[in-house]
């Protein structure tokens, strides 16, 4: 009887664990969510970039700020750096000196594609891995979410540049 109970218990534990395992292996809900939101962020950022006419890419609202084009390049460069840290590789973007509309849009595309392609190769368990040393330690999830938030921070400012030029920013999406 005792042996039977142990067998039943073992089967039950194994079944529960199997469900857990299946969830962990068949789906990566966190990775999928980040990919989805990164795609939305790419679309919104490109829509904001596109809404500003090329001749106003050098516009800045106050002297201390970056120009609109510099904001766009800063979003691209920083995003690629955050994602590169998460992927433990190097950013594919070099120094971004050309802040023209065509160059900035190309940089935004390259940076987001790098992040999204990298994310798609990760697992949910991989997102919890800690990278970096000392005060710069962070999980892979935080690297990607940090890049995402940094984009929202600068894009939010750039949208106000559009307003100051009489342009209604594209609809917010997430």
């Amino acid at each position: 009887m005792k042996g039977n109970c142990m067998k039943i218990a073992a089967v039950l534990v194994a079944s529960v664990c199997y469900i857990g395992l299946a969830f962990a292996q068949d789906g990566h809900p966190m990775v999928d969510a980040l990919v989805k939101h990164y795609q939305a962020s790419k679309e919104l950022t490109l829509a904001v970039a596109d809404a500003m006419p090329a001749e106003n890419y050098s516009f800045k609202a106050t002297d201390a700020e970056m120009s609109f084009g510099e904001q766009m390049n800063h979003i691209a460069g920083a995003n690629a750096n955050y994602c590169a840290a998460g992927l433990e590789t190097k950013s594919p973007l070099g120094k971004l000196d050309d802040a023209s509309k065509a160059a900035a849009e190309k940089n935004i595309n390259a940076a987001f594609d790098f992040c999204i392609d990298g994310l798609k190769k990760l697992t949910d368990a991989g997102l919890t891995k800690v990278t970096g040393t000392g005060a710069r330690q962070a999980t892979v999830f935080e690297r990607f979410w940090g890049g995402f938030t940094h984009t929202a921070h600068h894009r939010g400012q750039a949208e106000v540049y559009l307003r100051l030029k009489g342009i209604t920013p594209p609809q917010y999406k997430f």
Partner: protein, 168 residues
Amino acid sequence: MRKLSIVTALFAALAVSAFAEIDVKATIVKHLKTSRDFTLKVAEQMPDADYSFKLTPAQMSFGEQMVHLASSGEYFLSPMLGEKPKELKPASMKKADVIAFMKTSFDATIDKVSKLTPAQLTKTYEGEGGKQTGFDLLLGLLDHTTHHRASAEMYLRAKGITPAEYQF
């Protein structure tokens, strides 16, 4: 013996999937606290007299941006809690009242997020923004705050004030 090692391996696999959820909630709470502290710094920087300032007529005033981002916690968390979002408002649109309202709202949000279960985070909810998991809603809450705080920082610049250093 072989059975035992299979069970052990399966246990290990389960531990990994549970860990992923727990770790993420702790991370989100950490960033919600940073977001609260950073947003309150931005709110403190604007003088009371300029809380009604807006850069263009179509925008919300500085004070309205602050109230909007602070009260949005209700909307993002209500699907997970199975509640209707409450219409929360500060006592007035004066700086002191707005900041008091922000502190109360942010702390209530952080408290509620701290108590969410892994099941509430992974469940899918049907809402205005389509189908979203609890995880999506929490990321959406953080993103929405960042979005409006960034606009508000532009109002500070327009008033000759350098915004507080970016924090994440």
